[in-house]
């Protein structure tokens, strides 16, 4: 009599219609828009220095911004002897942060008392270097970090052992997760070490303050030394924020440095990397920041003091014999490059 059987069961249709309308709106209102990605961030520390900086040198920036959690992880790793094969050597062993960032030895002592072949460079301001190691074989601090860890004469470890030791630690897995959102891995360890080292800058040296306009920050001797440094030609290679560390140069340009020396493999410099003849005795020009604290000098640590280093450099690189007065002024100038944070 009354046909209401069709009622009550039309809801799947309504639901379908609604869902379809919703889906359609979703699709039409949110088409796959062409979203250009942001340009990749330039994380290089070098970007802190203006590419147009036309002066020969520039002051060290006061701060380098790195997330504190990354720095903290890096700091712990840097001081942790577990990174070496027999738990006897940490990064900080050869690069003590209270002594200018290097150990003061001609060549450093690794595990089991093994001697290295080259003079340990300072870790301070190393983030400004264009490449790492004397022969520049590492392009970044990250690449560099694994070098000493795995070198048999230095820390002699293997990644498997390092990660096993660190994973057993109460803190490291959590710190790694906090800092990089990842579990411990070779990449995390080297990134943390590199990030930490980027923060090791030593601003506010007398020379920096002089550059920023405080003429009295330099003594008369140091000022004269700075004039000589430019006039004699040192500045040709030792320029930039680190006064060096941004190019390779031949050791013995004006005279043969190795003439009366026995040449070892380490003396070949970049040749060991490229195998090209023209790269023989080519070394990264070391930065001169805090140079007064990082004796002995040269790639082999063969020069004991700054006065002698200045004398030798002038002779072989510039073809000059510099008198002791000028040398003293140059040494005074080099002394003014010691940053506040590392001054003993």
């Amino acid at each position: 009599m009354v046909a209401d059987e069709t009622r009550g069961h039309w809801w799947p249709l309504l639901l379908g219609a609604l869902a379809l309308a919703g889906g359609g709106a979703f699709y039409l209102l949110w088409p796959p828009a062409a979203t250009p990605a942001k340009p990749a961030q330039v994380e290089s520390i070098q970007s802190l220095v203006s590419p147009r900086a036309s002066g020969e040198v520039a002051p060290i920036p006061n701060v380098v911004e790195v997330a504190p959690r990354k720095v903290e992880l890096g700091r712990r790793l840097f001081h942790d002897k577990q990174l070496s094969q027999d738990n006897s050597v940490a990064c900080a062993t050869c690069h003590p942060l209270d002594k200018g960032g290097m150990d003061g030895l001609a060549v450093s002592v690794g595990i089991h008392g093994r001697l290295g072949e080259l003079n340990a460079p300072s870790v301070f301001n190393s983030g400004f270097n264009f490449r790492q190691f004397w022969d520049g074989r590492a392009a970044t601090l990250e690449e560099q970090a694994s070098g000493p860890l795995l070198a048999p004469k230095e820390m002699g470890s293997e990644w498997r052992d390092i990660l096993a030791k660190l994973s057993r630690d109460a803190d490291y897995p959590r710190l790694a997760m906090d800092a990089y959102g990842q579990d411990l891995s070779p990449e995390v360890v080297t990134r943390a070490l590199a990030d930490f080292q980027r923060t090791l800058v030593t601003p506010d040296s007398d020379f920096d303050r002089y550059l920023k306009g405080d003429a009295r920050a330099l003594s008369a001797e140091a000022r004269e030394g700075w004039r000589l440094f430019r006039d004699l030609g040192c500045i040709a290679c030792h320029q930039g924020v680190n006064l060096g560390g941004n190019m390779y140069a031949n050791l013995g340009l004006m005279a043969d440095f190795f003439a009366d020396r026995e040449v070892g493999e380490a003396d070949l410099g970049r040749y060991n990397v490229t195998g090209r003849d023209e790269d023989r005795h080519l070394f990264k020009v070391p930065g001169l920041r805090n140079v007064a604290l990082t004796a002995p000098y040269f790639h082999d640590g063969s020069i004991a003091d700054l006065d002698r280093a200045v004398e030798v450099m002038a002779r072989y690189q510039l073809g000059l014999e510099i008198n002791s007065g000028d040398r003293a002024n140059l040494v005074a100038f080099l002394g003014s490059l010691t940053g506040r944070r590392v001054s003993p």
Binding site: M1, V2, A3, D4, E5, T6, R7, G8, H9, W10, P12, L13, L15, G16, A19, L20, G23, G24, F26, Y27, P31, P32, A34, T35, P36, A37, K38, P39, A40, V42, E43, S44, Q46, V49, S50, P51, R52, A53, S54, G55, V57, A58, F130, A139, T140, G233, A236, C237, Q239, G240, V241, N246, M247, Y248, A249, L253, M254, L282, G319, L320
Partner: protein, 967 residues
Amino acid sequence: MTPPRLRLSLVWGVLVLAGLVVVVWLSLQTRGGAERYHAMLSLTDVLSVREGQLREQVLRLRHGLTTNYDGLVGLVRANRKDAGILVLQARDGHIGEAARAFQGLLAQEETWVEAFKLKNAIVRNSLRFFQYDAQVLINRMPHAPAGQALEHDLSRLANAVLLRSLGGGDMESDWERVQATVQARVSSLPPAMGADVERLLRHGQLLSRHLPELDQVTRHLLDSDSRRQLVQVAQLARAEIQKQSTETARTRSILALLAVILLLMLAGLGWRFLGNVRQMASQRRFLAGLTENAGVGVMVLDGADRVVFANGQAESLLGYSMETLPTLRFHRDIHVHQDGSHVSKVECEVMQAANAGHNYSGEQFFRRADGQVFPVIINSGILAGEDMGRVVLVFQDISERVRSARELSLAERLFESSQQGVVITDERGVIVRVNPAYCHISGYSEAELLGNNPRVLKSGLQSTSFYAEMWREIASRGSWQGEMRNRRKSGEIYVQWLHIDAVQAPDGGTLYAGIVSDITELYETRERLSALAYYDTLTGLPNRALFRDRLAQAVAQARRENRPLALLFTDLDNFKGINDSLGHAAGDELLKEVANRLKGCVRETDTVARLGGDEFALLLPGIGQAEDVARIANGVIDSIAQPFGVQGYDVVSGGSVGITFFPQDADSPEQLLQNADVAMYRAKEQGKGAFQFYTQDMAQGVTEAMRLETHLRRALERNELSLHYQPQYRMGGHMEGVEALLRWQSAELGAISPARFIPIAEKCGMITNIGDWVLREACRQCKVWRETCCPDLKVAVNLSAVQFRQPDLADKVAAVLAEVGLPGTALELEITESVVMEDVSRGLMVLEDLKALGCTLAIDDFGTGYSSLSYLRRFPVDVLKIDKSFIDGLGLDTNDSAVVRAIVGLASSLDLTIVAEGVETENQLAALDRLRGDGRIYAQGYLLSRPLPAEAFEGFIASLRGVEAVE
């Protein structure tokens, strides 16, 4: 519902859902992909820009425009990194190869860059040597022929080098030859010079080798294919994006097609559904037409207890709509017992009758959709034929009938048991009903009252006009209520609260219903209390009289027991304002709330009293420690500072507290009251929301103020007041005006600063007289000077807050101007910001009146008050005077300079003139001059001239003239 139909609906639903899944899947498919290539595109842009920068760096370095490699190193490093990212994003295929090729080119470039840096350093150093040292060396050559020849060769060599370095010449070919000859001659030179020549040769050697190489590597870098390769990568990326968007378009077409099909399916289904609905509706209309006019509910139940039909009346009685009816089950949803519990089908009398083949007729209960249960009369019948097994119910709602029967008895019960007396009379005043309470109150029995007039109770204490007024009100408004004194049967007078209503009787006539409460006792209590007059009727707190009494007792007791006591005074900060703006009712409400809060601040045993107005006092026996009282005072201040909810407004008040102690501050109640009052006023002066202990100094301060006041009253008569005039200079121009400043040289007290006596004058009302005098005197003096020496001179006069509040201020100023004969344009009136802001709308009016007189209006001490710029715009103000405190910091590197700069900027945008007060140093003046721009700035201060007495000012003008004459 037939099962096949259900299955069909489900199939449709599943189909639609499946279609939807496909839609979503397809739309997700069209996302992603392209984004990677967009990212690559922007990366190639960045890389391309950096490659350009790299070339620029190389050129700058090569030509000595840039002298360090940091920039170049940074670019190389960044590009190396981004190229890595590019390769990762490109993955494989053509675009991957292209990206890797680019990376390879970059690696090649990096090698060139390293060579470039080294050779460039060597070349620049050796060139520098040639440019400076070589010439010195050449000039030092011995004059011997050998030396001459050497000098010649060396000069040639040096020139060739320099030429070469500039991009021309051919140094290399010369070099071989000259080198040999020079080498041969070196031995003839002194050893030191020989070494120098050797060095020169070595540099030359380096140059001859590295210069060509440097040029070559520079060319390599400039010509590197890297950017072309980047363009190729970008093209490939664009092609990929194009491809993706084609795919997207295709997917979208499929999607659209699918959507259309789904919609068509839906439409078909909808059409079917509508057909069914239409068919059913027409059947229903037919049935409804049959049953609607019967005025009863009709329902048809099928064998499964479903309601298969209901007419409109049934729907409205049951509260269900037509759509929900099919889902109903009669015995689940509708048929209930009186208490709302279900009647099961088995026990249902209607069903029992139907099963037995009978019709049913009787009362049952139904439940409405909203849960309400109501009684119905049901007549049921059984349908035959096709609809076999169906029962038709015809029902009627009888709740109205049941309810009126019940309500009648309820009213009767209330009437009988009410504590209030009820009396009902007819139109003529004859009593027709009374209740027992009325009998009890009046003392008469029901029998004695019925048929009588309530007049029998008359006490004779109300006048006949009282009754006339009462009846008039009943006639006009239908009711009356009020107090009335009547006499009981016993002869005793009683007070009743009587409420009379005129009520429409069922027969159309009027009845009068009186409701009576006996309030005799209440009345007596109230009388007694008000007779005592010790309590504040509004707040219920002790009043001033009782408080004095309590204080006297407390002091006496404290003295006896050798204990301290503390007395606190407080009043509200802006009570008058609240009263004026929100009305007295609001004020009363506020006071009540304050009283409550104050009571909450102290112990039960302490006394809180309202002394009158908004003044409250707290008496705290036994408390003598300043810290304790301070805590309580803070509590009081905090509690008053909380917002009050008054008549729907959030009212914020606040109060200050004055505190005094017995016995150390005073010994007598009177003195304590006075002390607390003084302390409270001192607290107010300190700023609102503070408390202050009474101290001896305060007494002195009070007497000092009183002494000043006494002398000040005589100062005007004694001619002790005078005006000094401080010149105002236009920056980059001349003196154009003076500010009149008030001075008081008292015969007894010496010179007294305005800062000291003006507040006192304001407090004691003297300020009006003094202000009038200042205005007149300044105008008079200005008029004199305009006639004698300075025709365009303007005079600025300060108006105090009290003056500004005078309602007749503008008239007064006009009168003075007319009396003195000074044009309004020569008068500048200075008002502080806060005074104008006190009452913005009134302030605006006053300012406009003054403006109409031609006066210039200046805001004094600008920057220290509200600085409410929105108002400033609305006020007809011409001048802003910047407070001295800002000018002090001007010329130094301080915030003040910024503030002044901001004010000047503001002024020039509003076309206002600036007057800088208190200019004391050349520095400040110079700074002002720099700020001048195109705005009008005036300066005033000791640097230019201190304020001068009238006669000294004339001398000053004369000296100015002298200077100008000399100039």
